[in-house]
Structures are given as structure tokens and as C-alpha cells.
């Protein structure tokens, strides 16, 4: 049988592009409405996606204490959104991003046990350690713990949560999957090692097929190195897209999305990304590198790497911000027809660049709708995407054992 492609819908807020909420087919008001979530959940289930994933942050968007006025926000609690979706679907998996740094193992275990039970075994946990410095004061702390400490803590938190699940499963009612599916997206050496020891599915950015192959090989190597089975882990790089009936139409559609961005939006987006409020600076003047490095809450060396090259070329702040906004987060953005996209996905899968994709729709719900209408049927016709779910639990959907044996 030809290699199957796994598909996850990564939904957070109103889509991949910061400008996406202004698209005529975007429905930003929907993120506050049950009707919208029911529509999106059914769309993903009809297209046989493995799972819906909600990313999450534990701080409000903004920089330097200023709330942006042009970015789509806030994002609501992913666990609640997914559980409401559970009530109106039957098969699609439901994966919530939850932090190990700002939850106790007891909180996590209780929450995911309830999620797995009430969804009939469809719960997954995208384990994050929380990297944004604005989060700490929301939990009474001055600063985030350093990354190595966060990952050491994550190992302990996950181990303890697993013990608690085993006990809850024995006490009943049974946990349909034994425990939720564990998902991770580490990039650093610490993060990759943690993923290798823990995860059953892994997200990553991969801008091109070579990056995908390198990452997947590296992860398979690490998984084998700690005695795991590389075939028991799904590697799922992020993928966004803008489609059209012809290549040219797709390019026009992409340009239209980018053109919805104006300089004030771009500067708010850049401010957020650099953790430094730049809204009071003149967009036509030079990038205020020294101020940025003095004020940012991120490691200044990382920030310097992203701003220095443009500053040295004399790029004005507004132009830099506008360009920055055109390439969100280093993911692969496919622009073309549905047929071409399916072709690309099959090529990635067959070359060992991934086990499937974490689709990040360009705007919502239109971007997901386009993918479901223009790409899903092609993949299904080629025998690369299921037309029905193999079982009921998320583990079965991923081609893993339905239920993990719970240790006595």
C-alpha cells in the first residue's frame, strides 16, 4: 500500500497570516461562537484529519505593556474549545497545547483524564514548556525559568502525570486511551531529546523538503538512541497554503492576503515578535537597533540576528516590518493549485521528509475549506489519505495501538 499521509489541522485564532482576519472569507467574529467551532470541527472530520490542534499562549498579545489594536486576539482556552468540538464530532482527534511550566502534574492529569473520557478516547496533549517572558508575571513570577530547567521540569511533570493517569485508569471510569496521545515540538537539542523520549507525534517547522528530511532523520536517530521505535512516532511539519484554480490565480490570491497588511499592523506584529513596543517609532526612519536590544525581553543575541542584517542595509523600520510579516514563523507556505499541492505532499512523504503535515490554514475558515475541497479529494483519489477513520481513538487514527497498556 502506498504511504499514507497524516493530516492535522493546527488552528489558533484566525489563521496563519497576521493579515488573514481581514480576508473577505475570514470570519473573525466566529472565534467567539459555538456555531463556528461546530462548523470547523465537522469540516476537519469530513476531510478525515487525524486531529484538530489548538496552539496556545499564556500571555496576551502585545509588547512592552501595550495591547495591539490590529492583531486578531485574544485566543480562548484551547481545552474548552476542543471539548465543545468533541460533543459535535465522533472521530476527529482533539489535541490541546498545555504548558508544563505553569501547570502542576495533578492539574494536567485531571484535565486530560476528563478530556480523554468525555471525548471517547480522542484527547492529545501538545506539551510545551512556555517560552514567552510575559507569561511569568501571570503566575506570580518575575522571570521564566531558563530553557534547560524548563525541559528538566517537563520530564518530571510528564512522568508524574503518567503515574497519575495509570492510577485514575485503575480507579475508573477507564481512560479510553490509557493516557492522552503525547505531542511535542522541540527544536533545540534539549527540546529534541525530550521529544524523542516522550512524543508520539512531533511538530516542527520545515521550510523545504531537505529541512524536513534532516529533521525527521535526526528525530528517528534520537528516538532509536533512547530505545524507542521510530516507526511509532509521527513527524508532522507545519504547512500553510494559498490555493487557486491556476498557479497564477494562487499567486494573485497570496498577494491579496499580503496586501491586506498595512504598516501599523506590520509594526504591531514585529513588536510582538521582538518583545519590544515599536509603535511610537517613525516607520520611515532607520530600525532603532540599540533601543530594541536594550528593551527586548528576548535574548538580545537572538534579536540582533534578526534585525542587524536589515539595519546594516539601511532598510527603514516600516519596510522591515512589512517584509517580516510576509514570512510568518519559518513554515513551508505552498502557493499553487490543489493538484500541485497534493503532488508536493506526496513527494515529501515518499522522500521521508515527514509522516504527514500540520496544516496551518492561511485564514479561517476559508483556508481550511479550500484545502478540504481542493487537496483532500486528490490525496484520497491517489490512495494517500483515508476516506474513513480506522477506529474510534486518536491512537488508532494515528496507526498506533488503540490503548496503551496501563502498568499495574
Amino acid at each position: 500500500m502506498s504511504k499514507q499521509i497524516h493530516l492535522w489541522a493546527f488552528l489558533q485564532g484566525i489563521g496563519f497570516f497576521p493579515t488573514g482576519w481581514r480576508h473577505p472569507r475570514a470570519r473573525p467574529e466566529g472565534v467567539f461562537s459555538m456555531e463556528y467551532y461546530a462548523r470547523v470541527a465537522k469540516m476537519a472530520e469530513d476531510a478525515c484529519f487525524d486531529a484538530i490542534v489548538f496552539g496556545d499562549q499564556l500571555q496576551s498579545r502585545g509588547a512592552g505593556g501595550r495591547t495591539p489594536g490590529r492583531l486578531a486576539m485574544p485566543t480562548l482556552d484551547p481545552v474548552s474549545l476542543l471539548m465543545a468540538m468533541a460533543a459535535v464530532t465522533e472521530r476527529v482527534g482533539l489535541v490541546a497545547t498545555v504548558s508544563t511550566t505553569y501547570n502542576t502534574p495533578e492539574m494536567l492529569a485531571e484535565r486530560f483524564a476528563a478530556m480523554d473520557r468525555i471525548s471517547g478516547g480522542r484527547a492529545g496533549w501538545n506539551i510545551v514548556t512556555t517560552a514567552h517572558p510575559d507569561t511569568a508575571p501571570n503566575f506570580g513570577e518575575a522571570e521564566l525559568p531558563p530553557k534547560d530547567q524548563r525541559y528538566r521540569n517537563a520530564v518530571d511533570v510528564v512522568a508524574k502525570a503518567c503515574e497519575l493517569w495509570a492510577a485514575m485508569d485503575r480507579a475508573g471510569p477507564a481512560l479510553p486511551q490509557g493516557r492522552p496521545v503525547l505531542v511535542q515540538a522541540g527544536q533545540s537539542p534539549e527540546g529534541r531529546d525530550f521529544a524523542a523520549r516522550t512524543a508520539e507525534a512531533i511538530f516542527c517547522p520545515a521550510a523545504n523538503i531537505e529541512a524536513g528530511i534532516d529533521f525527521r532523520n535526526d528525530m528517528r536517530h534520537r528516538i532509536a538512541g533512547v530505545g524507542g521505535n521510530p516507526d511509532g512516532v509521527r513527524v508532522m511539519p507545519g504547512l500553510s497554503c494559498v490555493l487557486g484554480g491556476t498557479e497564477e490565480e494562487a499567486r494573485t490570491n497570496h498577494a491579496a492576503i499580503l496586501d491586506m497588511g498595512d504598516v501599523p499592523l506590520a509594526i504591531e506584529y514585529l513588536s510582538e515578535s521582538l518583545c519590544c513596543d515599536l509603535t511610537a517609532y517613525d516607520p520611515d526612519a532607520a530600525i532603532p537597533v540599540d533601543d530594541i536590544l536594550a528593551k527586548t525581553l528576548l535574548p538580545p543575541a537572538d534579536v540582533a540576528k534578526s534585525v542587524r542584517p536589515a539595519a546594516e542595509k539601511g532598510t527603514p523600520l516600516g519596510d522591515f516590518a512589512a517584509n517580516f510579516m510576509r514570512h510568518p514563523r519559518g513554515h513551508n507556505v505552498f502557493i499553487g493549485t490543489g493538484e500541485q499541492m497534493a503532488e508536493m505532499m506526496i513527494e515529501w512523504r515518499d522522500s521521508g521528509a515527514c509522516d504527514g503535515f500540520t496544516l496551518q490554514p492561511s485564514y479561517m475558515p476559508g483556508g481550511l475549506e479550500d484545502f478540504a475541497e481542493q487537496v483532500v479529494p486528490v490525496l484520497q483519489k491517489r490512495g494517500r489519505l483515508r476516506t474513513e477513520y480506522p477506529g474510534t481513538t486518536l491512537r488508532e487514527t494515528l496507526g498506533l495501538p488503540a490503548r496503551l497498556k496501563v502498568e499495574a
Binding site: A26, E29, G30, Q57, A84, E106, P173
Partner: protein, 289 residues
């Protein structure tokens, strides 16, 4: 003025976390005309009620789900986020009941105050969502609460919107005080004239006989605003127990609470006095598919 008579019940069986058992219970509550269905109670919180409340949101159109929230094993930042989401999903029909569980004295009150402060960090008219001008929200309506309490410090703003009701309806049990004296709904052990503005629901112990005439008399004198049944049946037996409540109250005194509008509106409850003293819940531009 005609007052409405409020009917409430709490359920505690851990098996309600199983969807096949929970669905008939939710359906029975809707059919019986329950105004509130509380998941857990002080001293009996068998599952994560915030998860169940979210799951139940699309399954209800009248009954408001009240989630019991422990002051231990929870943080106000997470609680404020979850209940904000649930309140939108349930069209403004969300209640919460903070219980001490194993927390130290004072932690539950601190939880209530912290979550209220976080919700109040978002003004009622924050959202604009105008594609044409590119204005998504009005930043002047967002403030950082910088809440500092004896147990919880949380700066905010919380990554969640002000709830549709402004604040979900807070339900507290008089017999398990947590140090908050401005709850919206109070569960009481005996009818009693009270000055507070809360709605008072008389607790009916498991299996107790209900004297409809006495209830009507207490309601007419204003000593109570309704009843709260403490159900201890197993999940499988709950639908029948809830249907029996419905039959019993077919001729309840007063009027039946309206079935449209947010829970707060239906019960005629003002928002609690908080630092920002805003009179309204969040405005959200209409979603049109």
C-alpha cells in the same frame, strides 16, 4: 413584580465523565426545565467540571451548567481563561462555584477575586473587528489588572475575552463558606429573610420529601427564590431523578425564568462590584457563517 422561581440541581457521580452516561443527564435537565445543573458540590468534586461544562455547551439551550472549581489544583489565570471560553460557547449560560477542597483558608476567596480582576481587565466594548479599517480592537479598553492576593499574584491581561455575561454567575453554598459575601446565587439550608441581593435557593437533601405548599409560602415571602436538589444517584439513575424534579415543579410558584438571554439576564442579577465597575458583558460583532 412577578419573580421567577429558579430550579437547580447538583450531580456528583464520577461516571458522568463518560459521554454515553452524561448525554442523557444533560438531556433530562433540559427537558425538565432545570435552570442550573451544577457539576459537583462542596465536598464532592469527582471530575474536572470545567471540561464537562465546555463539552455540555453545545448540548444545552436552556440549562446553565455550573462548574465547581477547586481552589487547590487550579490557578485563576487558567480558570479565568476556561470559563471565559465556556461562557461564549454556551451563549452566556455559565456558572461557577469555587470550593476550598484541600486548599488553605482564604485561597478560594483569593481565586474568586483574582479571576474577577482578570475578566475585568477587558472592557465590554473592546472588540471592533472592522476589516475595512483594519481595527480589530480598542486597546484603551484593555488594562493590566496586576492582581496581588495572599495566595495568587497575576498580572494579566489574561489571554481571554471578558465573558459574555461580564462575569459568570457565582454560586456558593452557605454551609461551606469561602469568605466571599457577594455571590450571585446562594444555596441555603433553611428559608430565611436575608438582606443580600443574591438569589437564594433552598437545598433539598437527597431523598427528602418536597412540601410544595411550604416552598410556595417561602417563595411568596421572599425567603427563597427557588430550590436546589442535591442528587446523589448514580449517573445511570440520574435522568429519572431529574425527570421527577420536572414533574414536581410543573406547577412551580412565581414565573418560569425566561429561556432566552444570558443566565445573568434571566435571573435578573447585576454584575458584582469590582475595580472596574462595568455594567455589561462583552459585545461581540455577530457571526454570520
Amino acid at each position: 413584580m412577578t419573580r421567577s422561581f429558579i430550579v437547580s440541581a447538583c450531580v456528583t457521580d464520577a461516571d458522568l465523565a463518560v459521554p454515553e452516561l452524561a448525554r442523557p443527564v444533560i438531556a433530562a435537565a433540559e427537558a425538565a426545565g432545570l435552570d442550573l445543573l451544577m457539576l459537583g458540590r462542596a465536598g464532592a468534586r469527582p471530575f474536572d467540571a470545567q471540561v464537562l461544562a465546555a463539552w455540555a455547551a453545545p448540548l444545552t439551550s436552556r440549562t446553565a451548567i455550573v462548574a465547581t472549581v477547586p481552589a487547590s489544583n487550579a490557578h485563576p489565570f487558567h480558570v479565568a481563561r476556561a470559563l471565559s471560553a465556556v461562557d461564549f460557547l454556551a451563549d452566556g449560560r455559565t456558572g461557577w462555584s469555587v470550593i476550598a477542597e484541600d486548599a488553605e483558608p482564604g485561597a478560594a476567596a483569593d481565586m474568586v477575586r483574582a479571576a474577577r480582576a482578570l475578566w475585568d481587565g477587558w472592557g465590554a466594548d473592546t472588540l471592533v473587528i472592522d476589516k475595512e479599517s483594519g481595527v480589530y480592537l480598542n486597546p484603551d479598553q484593555v488594562v493590566r489588572p496586576n492582581y496581588r492576593g495572599p495566595f495568587f499574584d497575576t498580572a494579566g491581561p489574561v489571554n481571554a475575552m471578558r465573558p459574555l455575561q461580564g462575569q459568570p454567575v457565582l454560586v456558593l453554598d452557605e454551609a461551606a463558606p469561602i469568605g466571599i459575601d457577594d455571590a450571585d446565587v446562594v444555596l441555603v439550608d433553611a428559608p430565611d429573610a436575608a438582606a443580600e441581593s443574591a438569589r437564594r435557593l433552598l437545598k433539598i437533601a437527597p431523598g427528602a420529601e418536597v412540601d410544595s405548599a411550604a416552598l410556595a409560602a417561602s417563595f411568596d415571602t421572599g425567603e427563597i427564590d427557588g430550590v436546589h436538589f442535591m442528587l446523589t444517584e448514580s449517573a445511570a439513575a440520574l435522568p429519572a431523578a431529574i425527570a421527577a424534579i420536572g414533574a414536581l415543579l410543573a406547577d412551580r410558584p412565581g414565573t418560569v425564568p425566561a429561556i432566552t438571554g444570558t443566565l445573568r439576564e434571566r435571573l435578573g442579577l447585576a454584575l458584582p462590584q469590582t475595580a472596574s465597575t462595568q455594567a455589561k458583558g462583552a459585545f461581540v460583532p455577530e457571526y454570520v457563517a
